[in-house]
């Protein structure tokens, strides 16, 4: 399978699961074949199977970490953007991405899927850690001509994207931390006891949002992408600095690689029963 066929193929013949289980149990007592390619993966069995269905396989668990310092005092006094913090987030994200990319290259992967993005903003440092599974077309021995991608899409979403004729190109991120100026004494007294909008915070939030989204978009354009999917945003005040607000955004940059978008031919289903747990073990190849 080349991975370009639309999804929804023949379900094939059913298998005898009990016989399969007996064969598996017998294999455990025997020595493994020495030439078996071994892999490490944090994908679920569902994700791995769905990747296999389009001709891809996991290779190795990979990760990248970065942590940048934020100078003392920048959170509390000033105006406009807290550029040290915004830059620290951007550089941490970029370095962590570069490192997971390098590990993927060394492992022989063509890209990384299912990347877990963990980031924390502390008063004096901003940390980013990325962990995911390097993947490649089944049996591929060398790197392909396409650039290696890093994506936080799950195995299922990667499969859908791939089948629709699109390709992930990398992670794009943007962040902005903005100082919400204190109100004047007069404004504070005038607004005391009233339910009114605090425009200093609203404006700071808008400023942070625009900068962060623009940075993410610029990053996507630099990667040659035509869009970003699965964008995750966070916004809000810093717990350690009440007059600073932050906005972060990241997602996977995608580009259409087929001649045109392919319709997946999704079928409408109308479940006639109440939601229930799957009860019986059944073959994935049909009844």
């Amino acid at each position: 399978m080349t991975g370009t066929e639309p999804l929804g193929g023949d379900q094939g013949d059913s298998v005898d699961i009990k016989a399969e289980m007996r064969s598996a149990a017998e294999a455990i007592g025997k020595a493994p074949k020495p030439n078996t390619a071994r892999m490490t993966s944090d994908l679920s069995i569902d994700e791995e199977l769905v990747l296999h269905s389009i001709g891809w396989e996991p290779v190795e668990l990979v990760s990248g970490v970065s942590m940048h310092s934020v100078p003392v005092g920048v959170w509390n006094w000033g105006q406009g953007e807290i550029s040290y913090a915004s830059a620290a987030y951007g550089r941490s994200f970029a370095n962590a991405t570069e490192r997971i990319h390098d590990q993927c290259t060394k492992a022989g992967g063509h890209g990384v899927v299912g990347v877990h993005v963990e980031w924390t903003v502390e008063r004096h440092h901003i940390d980013v850690a990325l962990t995911g599974t390097a993947v490649r077309p089944v049996g591929a021995k060398s790197l392909g001509s396409d650039p290696i991608f890093v994506s936080d899409l799950s195995g299922r979403d990667f499969t859908l994207l791939h089948s629709a004729g699109w390709a992930p190109l990398g992670l794009a991120a943007g962040a902005s931390f903005v100082y919400a100026p204190r109100r004047s004494m007069g404004d504070t007294m005038k607004q005391s006891g009233q339910n009114v909008e605090l425009t200093n915070f609203t404006e700071a939030m808008y400023a942070a949002r625009e900068s962060a989204m623009e940075r993410m978009q610029t990053s996507a354009i630099n990667l040659g992408g035509s869009g970003v999917v699965e964008v995750k945003v966070t916004e809000g005040p810093m717990t350690f600095a009440h007059h600073a607000v932050g906005f972060t955004a990241y997602g996977t940059v995608v580009r259409l690689v087929a001649d045109k978008h392919r319709n997946l031919g999704a079928r409408m289903v109308l479940p006639m029963d109440d939601p229930t747990s799957t009860f019986d073990a059944s073959s994935l190849r049909g009844a």
Partner: protein, 303 residues
């Protein structure tokens, strides 16, 4: 069900009696239980292994570190890297020396606790004549407030209908159960065992790491504020690599499936930190040639 005559002598008497009483116990959910029966796995009993470890970070030696104070210079096992101050002597309070080193005594204690609990669970299952253990769940948690950690590993012992017992008498284990285990087997993988490893790296910050972690713009911070905190990043990276390497060494020619990597960084002040990384997953063996699964059909639910 008869208790095998070779039941280990140190198994609690109550456990031997429980296995011999005829009714099985199981930690499986009803769907997982039904799926296991469907694939020819009969529950034998709910098996558990415990190990409670005293958790003294510096071991039993006078100042610990695996061999007494100062042993980090001469006796550290595994990773160690020195981070010297670029400024020369400045003052007595200046951190003119820094080091990252692997805390082997912490790793050894964790490995002892985990593997002892695991072995006890497996031993209990073997005594009941089980072929494997499915749906394994493990946890590590403080037991009361005494500097004590409890390692717990539990799962449901099963027997393969008409199957052959394990050659070495040691049941196979997996975190999976039910439909997920069915899919794994149908995809051509046999569950061999769970695999888990820990790594622990201590960051003894030098002056630059100290200043950067506290955001200081000290005139002695050779790296300007806003720079990458290289010493801590290196510790994080190495901790992940050690845990991964350790699990890979348990795999032989097998693979690791469904891995979970968790990292905790404890900041100890002035740039010092401790990074602990735990990697666990299912060791699986391919028992039949790769057989592509049918492509799934995308559907859109109307509800």
């Amino acid at each position: 069900m008869a208790v095998p005559s070779e039941a280990p002598g140190d198994l609690p008497e109550a456990a031997v009696r429980r296995f011999a009483e005829g009714a099985f116990t199981s930690g499986l959910t009803v769907p997982d239980f039904a799926a296991c029966l469907q694939m020819g796995l009969e529950p034998v009993g709910f098996t558990q292994g415990y190990c409670v470890m005293q958790w003294q970070w510096y071991g039993s030696s006078p100042m610990g570190m695996g061999g007494g104070f100062g042993s980090q210079w001469g006796g550290i096992r595994g990773y160690s890297e020195t981070w010297n101050c670029p400024h020369g002597f400045v003052s007595g309070e200046h951190r003119s020396w820094g080091q990252n080193y692997e805390q082997a005594w912490v790793e050894d204690a964790w490995t002892t606790g985990f593997s002892t609990a695991y072995d006890r669970m497996v031993e209990e299952a073997a005594s009941g004549g089980a072929h494997g253990i499915v749906g394994v769940v493990d946890s590590v948690q403080p037991l009361s407030d005494m500097g004590v950690l409890e390692f717990r590993v539990q799962g449901t012992a099963v027997r393969v209908t008409d199957g052959v017992p394990p050659a070495d008498g040691r049941p196979w284990t997996t975190y999976l159960a039910g439909q997920r285990l069915t899919k794994l087997v149908e995809a051509g993988y046999a569950p061999v065992s769970i695999a888990a490893a820990v790594s622990s790296v201590r960051v003894w910050a030098n002056c630059v790491t100290h200043y950067l972690t506290e955001g200081s713009n000290s005139m002695f911070a050779s790296a300007t504020a806003g720079s990458e905190i290289t010493q801590t990043v290196t510790a994080q990276t190495v901790a992940r690599k050690i845990a991964t390497h350790r699990v890979r060494s348990q795999l032989g020619h097998d693979s690791l499936h469904g891995a979970a990597l968790s990292t905790v960084q404890r900041e100890l002040g002035e740039g010092d930190a401790e990074v602990e990384c735990v990697l666990r997953g299912n060791r699986v063996r391919r028992f039949k040639e790769f057989d592509p699964m049918p492509a799934p059909r995308p559907t859109v639910r109307m509800l």
